[in-house]
């Protein structure tokens, strides 16, 4: 396990160096086009300053920023005991030093993500829809996947990479747009009669081409690594839970659900377990997608028939893709013995009807938002928003007309 993290970190260093060099080159070139003498160094330092500021923000406030953008709410065990139990189980399996914070997103879409700067300061967020539709084993598979992102330091890595990518995109966009709108090209054109103008135009051309290409290349690199890490997290989830079918069946339900997650955007999309923006042009090309095709991930997990180890995942992957590409770093494939699969959990609850599912979803959403409930003797469950009855001590049951004290309301049980 630790070897795997080290191998991951080596790759991260490689990526960061690549991105940092791109960023600095970009700064230098842009600076040089404006002020040929010494401008390059100035541009370089501006690029480094922007990057430093963004990095500091991402380290200190990155997780809370992402969580608030996705409109996730932190919850207590009283809201959903099973979710907390499953998170703690996976925390133990992964050997994390601290329990991640648990968040629920108020949406009927099916998705989940993890964030955090290191394994001691992490958080997992799941949607209410996910909780209402998945059984215990499936939920465990999803949480195992998220826990693997934390354990493999993917959350930290993806945040940094996103910041670096963001800086490159911002700088080159400002430069390219500035070139077109300020008429800088004309200014350079007139100056070209002077000595050295020729070299100036060449530098300008290189800068423009580089500014257009750099963000594209950086983005493709980022997406390629993000896809590889999704496979790795799937494999780790199977190893942690010893039950690949749980995650496979969860992914199946996720891909069947067509509800959109409105709080996800292009930047945060790479963090979710499955692409939350499936509706919008994700069929463009495999190169520009942040996630591997979900059907492929399911088939790989279902192909693990003999064990739950990394080598089993790799075998299944190679058999399906007919390629020898290494999805798991070599050091992860040295499991001494076969890691046995386990049987399905006992809690194979009866399949729910659509109405039960909707009711459960509603209950979860209300529990997250601190609604309270009174069970009337006539069988009606009266649910009240927080703060209801501040100036009314009694509530009348709308069905049978019995009166209830508002203080007697309890938590919503899921």
């Amino acid at each position: 396990m630790w070897e795997l993290i080290k191998s991951n970190q080596r790759k991260s260093v490689f990526l960061f160096t690549g991105m940092a060099v791109t960023l600095m080159l970009l700064g230098y070139l842009i600076g040089s086009t404006f002020y040929p003498d010494g401008g390059g160094v100035f541009g370089l330092s501006i690029a480094i300053i922007i990057w430093t500021v963004l990095s500091i923000i991402s380290v200190t406030a990155g997780s809370s920023l992402v969580l608030s953008i996705s409109q996730a709410k932190e919850v207590t065990p009283a809201v959903h005991q099973q979710l907390f139990n499953v998170v703690e189980e996976m925390k133990l399996a992964a050997g994390l030093p601290a329990m991640p914070k648990v968040y629920i997103i108020d949406s009927s879409a099916l998705n989940a993500f993890a964030t955090g700067k290191d394994p001691s300061h992490s958080a997992v967020a799941v949607t209410a829809g996910l909780l209402s539709k998945l059984n215990r084993d499936e939920l465990q598979g999803v949480i195992g996947h998220e826990m693997s992102h934390i354990m493999n330091r993917d959350t930290k890595f993806m945040t940094y990479a996103a910041v670096m990518l963001g800086t490159i995109v911002i700088i080159s966009e400002i430069f390219v747009k500035g070139m077109f709108f300020s008429g800088a090209g004309r200014r350079y054109g007139s100056r070209s009669k002077n000595s050295g103008g020729q070299a100036q135009i060449i530098i300008l051309a290189i800068a423009v081409i580089f500014a257009i290409l750099a963000p594209i290349m950086a983005r493709l690199l980022y997406f390629a690594l993000s896809r590889k890490r999704e496979y790795l997290a799937d494999a780790s989830s199977a190893r942690l839970t010893r039950y690949p079918e749980g995650l496979a069946s969860a992914l199946e339900k996720i891909s069947d659900c067509s509800d959109d997650l409105p709080s996800a955007n292009k930047v945060t999309a790479a963090m979710y377990i499955a692409n939350p923006l499936k509706k919008k042009g994700m069929k463009l090309s495999d190169l520009s997608s942040t996630h591997p095709p979900i059907s492929e991930r399911i088939r790989i997990l279902r192909g693990m028939m003999y064990g739950a180890g990394f080598s089993d995942y790799q075998k299944s992957f190679s058999a399906l893709k007919r390629s020898s590409a290494a999805i798991i770093p070599a050091s992860g494939l040295r499991d001494a013995a076969v890691i046995p699969l386990r049987a399905a959990g006992e809690d194979q609850a009866e399949p729910q009807t659509a109405v039960q599912e909707k009711r459960k979803l509603g209950n979860i959403m209300m529990a997250v938002n601190d609604y309270s409930t009174i069970n009337c003797e006539c069988g009606l469950k009266i649910k009240m928003p927080p703060g209801f009855g501040m100036n009314r001590p009694e509530i009348t049951c709308p069905r049978c007309g019995r009166k209830h004290r508002v203080e007697s309301a309890g938590r919503i049980k899921i």
Partner: protein, 185 residues
Amino acid sequence: MVIGIIVLVLVVIGVLYFVGNYNSLIGLRNQVKNAWAQIDVQLKRRHDLIPNLIETVKGYMNHERSTLENITNARSQAVSAQGVSEKAKAEARLTEAMGKFNLVVENYPDLKANQNFLALQEELTSTENKISFSRQSYNDQVLFYNNKIQMFPSNIVAGMFNFKMEDFFEVEDKAEKEVPKVSFP
């Protein structure tokens, strides 16, 4: 002079290497201890939950006295067990008794509809899972640690400071050992 410097550099590298090995051994040993502590916490949690469970189901299950007694006995043995291997055995017995109980529960629909019982059962399921997941992670840690003790050159450091190999927490669970059979027609 030059030879002196080379010797000095070699000695410094040697000492650093030695210190590094010693520290990583200590680190691994602490991780093993920590993983064991995690298992212990979950085992205690299960021991605490069982009396509650018995109390809740007693009224429903008059005909299952022997099943419940089995659980109580297995629990008291598990509470008093000492050492990794003895604990593993006692806990395996308790798990078996609980498994029998779970089968019996299927015959009591009233019990399965009881909110308290359902909450307790989720707690117990989760505790059992937590035990097996912490066992999983403990065994992983023990494997790393034992490997480090046996492998060259850290075995020299381990021998000098008397680092001892740790036991795995093994359970004899037939279902878990079973490999799915695939037959070709």
